[in-house]
Amino acid sequence: MRIDPQKIETLLEQVQKAPRYTGGEMNTVVKKWEDAEFHYGFCFPDTYEVGMSHLGMKILYGLVNAQPDSLCERFFMPWTDMLALMEENDVPLFSMESRTPLCDFDMIGFTLQYEMSYTNILAMMKLGRVTLLSKDRGRDEPIVVAGGPCAFNPEPLADFIDAFMIGDGEEVTLQVDEAVRRWKKSGAQRIDCLRALARIPGVYVPEMYEVTYHEDGTVRAITPREDGVPERVRKCVVTDLNTAYYPTEIPVPYTEIVHDRIMLEIMRGCTRGCRFCQAGMLYRPVRERSLEKLTELAHALEASTGYEEMSLTSLSSGDYTCLAELIRQLMKDMEEQHVSISLPSLRIDSVLKESLEETQKQKKTSLTFAPEAGTQRLRDVINKGVTEADLIEKVTDAFQGGWSSVKLYFMIGLPTETYEDLDGIADLAQKVVRAYFAVPKGQRAKGLRVVVSASTFVPKPVTPFQWEGQDTQEEIHAKQAYLKEKLRAIKGVTFNYHESELSYLEACFARGDRRLGRVLLKAFESGCILDSWSDIFSMEKWIAAFDACGADMHWYAHRQREKDELMPWAVIDSGISDAFLWHEQEKARQGITTRDCRHGCNGCGLQRWKGVCAYANGSGVQQG
C-alpha cells in the first residue's frame, strides 16, 4: 500500500519536531521494495531521538540490509501530536525509508530495552494496522518478533509477540529471517511458521508452551505443547566479537538525538557481578574486541559518518584490557579530524588517571560516578566493589584535572537498606564537596556542581535479587523525603529523584507472568502510551487496568518470593544457574562480596557451556 505523500506532508506541517518523521538521513539504506524478497520492519518502541541512539538497532539494520535479498526499514513511536493526527487522518504507521505501512512487511521486530516501552509496542502495531493478539493475526500479516534484554522475561508480552530471540541477535536474526522467508513462499499456515521458529536454537515461541499455575497464583509448570519444541530456550551467544558483524556505516540523523555520536562497542558483558545489575548477568560472558579491530572500525565509522565524537561503549569500559593503549591510539589517529573520545560508563575503580588526562585534552563535560549505595556495608551487599577512598581519589583527580561538575548515581530501596545507608549517601556527597574545596583555588575549575541522583531499585529477573520484594511506595516516598532534607543542607549539591510509581510498575512487569498481557492491553486501551515520559504517564489508568483484570500489583512487586518458586521466565536459559543466583543472594544477606570473574571463575553457570566463557573453569557452585 502506498500512502499519499502529500497526506504525510500535511501532517508534518502540523507537528512539533517534524524531522523525527522525515527520514532521508545520511547512510540510511533505501532499497527498491520489489527487489527484496524479504521485508523487515525494525521497530524501536520509543521516540526517534531515543531509538536512533540505540546501538543494537544500528547493528541489526546494517546486518539485514547487508543481505542482498533483504530489506530493513526503521519505525519509531510517534509523539502524541503526530499519533493523534495519523489516527484522525487514517494514516498508518509508515517506515522512515520508503514510507511503507508497518502491516506490509513480512516480519516486524521490536527491541525490548525497558519494560515501560511495552504499551508503545501495542500503539505501534495498532497504528501500523497489525492485529495485536498473536492468535488473531492472519496469514498475510507480518510475523512479529522481539529481542533485547527484556526478552529474558518474555511472558508479559506472550500474547502479542510470535517469537522472541534470546541473547545476541547477530546470528539468530538471519536464521529467523530465513525461516520466515521460506514459510512465506511455502503457503503453509501461520502456525507452521511458529513451529519452525520454535525449533531454531535461541528462539522462544510462547504459543508453543502451556503455562499452569498453583492455587496461590505462582507458576506451576511451563510445558512444551508438542515434540521437538525445547523444554528450555538457551540464549544465543556470539563468541567472537572480532568476526561478528559490526556496521561501518550508520545512519547520521539531522536532528539532535540522545546519543549523537559514534558508538564503538569495545566489549560485551561485564565480569563485576554487581548483584542488582541485570545487564551484568544477561550479557555474560565478557568478550572483548581486539585493538586492531577497534581501530579499524573507528576509522571506517569516522570516515562514513563525519561524527565529531566517539564513545567507547560497553557495560564497564574501564575494564577493557588495553584501555589506555586504545585511548592513546584513537586520540592520536583522530586528532587531525578533531574527534573527541568519550567513555560513558566510567567505573570509578578502574579508570586510570592516565586516561583521564588523555580525555581531558578534549572538552570537559560532567563526570559520572555510580557508587550505587551510601555505605560500605550496603555496597558489599550489592557487590559493588567500590570504596569511599576510591571515589574520593577519583573525584579529586577529576577536580584537579579541571572538572567541576560531578554526577553521583545511587539507588534507594536496595535489599537490607536502612536509614543509615541513606545517611551514607549524604555523607558521601559531603565528602565529594570537601574534596573539591581541598583543591587549591587556582587549580580547580569554578562552579562546583554535584548532582546526586537516586533511582528506585527494581528487582530484575536473572539477578541474585530476583526473589526480593520491592520496597512499597510508602517506604520509598519516606526515603526520598528523608534524603531530600539531608541533601538540602549541603552547598553545591542538587538532588534528583525519579517518580517511584514508574519503578513500581516496572517491578510488576519485570518479573510478571503471561497474565499481565491482559493488563497491558487494558492499560493501552484506556490510553496508556509513552509511559516512560513522566508528563504523559498516568498511574491512575494503570491501577484501574490492574483492578479491571483482577491482577494485584502488590503481589507482583512487593512479594518476597520463595527459593523454589518457579519463575515465569524459567523457560529461558540465560546460562546463569539459579543455584549461583541463590548462592549470591545468600552472600548478599551476609554482606560477603564475590570477586570479579577475571580474577577467578565464580561458577555462574556459563562454565557448563563449553568454549563460551574465556574465564570459566571448574564446576562452580553446587548445581541445582
Binding site: 506532508e9 500535511t10 506541517e13 522525515t22 532521508g24 540510511t28 539531522y254 536532528t255 563525519g306 579530524q337
Partner: protein, 229 residues
Amino acid sequence: MRMAAVFSKDERLRHIGHLDIMRAMQRALRRSGLPVSYSQGFNPHILLGFASALSTGAASERELMEVTLRGEVSAEEFLRRMNAALPPQMQLVRCFPLEEKGPALMSLVRAARWRVELLGEGAAAIAAAVPAFLQQEEIPSIRKTKSGEKEINLRPWIYSLSADGGTLHATLALSEQANCKPDMLVRALAAFAGTEAPRMLATREELMGEDPAGQLIPLEVLLSPCEDS
C-alpha cells in the same frame, strides 16, 4: 582558499531546520576528506558560512555557502567529493572559488526568488487577486521579532510577483533590515482575497545580490561573473 558551493535542499528535507542543515553540512565536509579549516579554540569547528538561513518548511534549489580550505582544491574535485559525502536529498549543484579577501556571503544577499505552490482551497482566488494586490501602496503585515510583533508594510519588499495557475513566482526582499518570507506574502494575499491561507510549498530558487548599479542580480553571477551557472 575560499570555495563557494551552491546546493539544493529537497522537499523531503524541508522540515529540517537551518542549524541541523548546517551540522549535516559540517559532517559531510568531514566525510568528504577535503582539507577543511577549523576554527581555533576549545571546541574547534569547521570554517563554514551560509549566505542565508533557509526557513524550516522551505525547500531550495540553490542555496549558497562558503568553505575555507587549507589548500588548493579544484571546483570539480570539491563538487565530486562533496556529492559522494552528501545524501541524495542534499547535493551540490555547482562550486567555484571565491576571492580570498571578499566579503562574507551573508552581507551580499538582498533578495530571493521564490516559487510557491499553493495547495487546496483558496489557491485560485489568491492567484486571481495578484494584480489588484500589487496595486496597493500599503500592505500591512506582522513581522515577528525577538522583542515581539511589529506592524510593517510589506509592499516595498515585494520586488516582483506573478501567478501561474496555483503557483506564485516572487522576488522578495531578504536582508537584515527587510525580510519578506513567503508565508508572510501568502498570508497577506489570502487576507486581501478574503480567503483562508492555503497550504503552501515554498522553494527558494535563487539568492540575489546587487550589482554596482543597484540592480538585483543572482548572487552567483555577482560572485563569479565569468562562469556560466
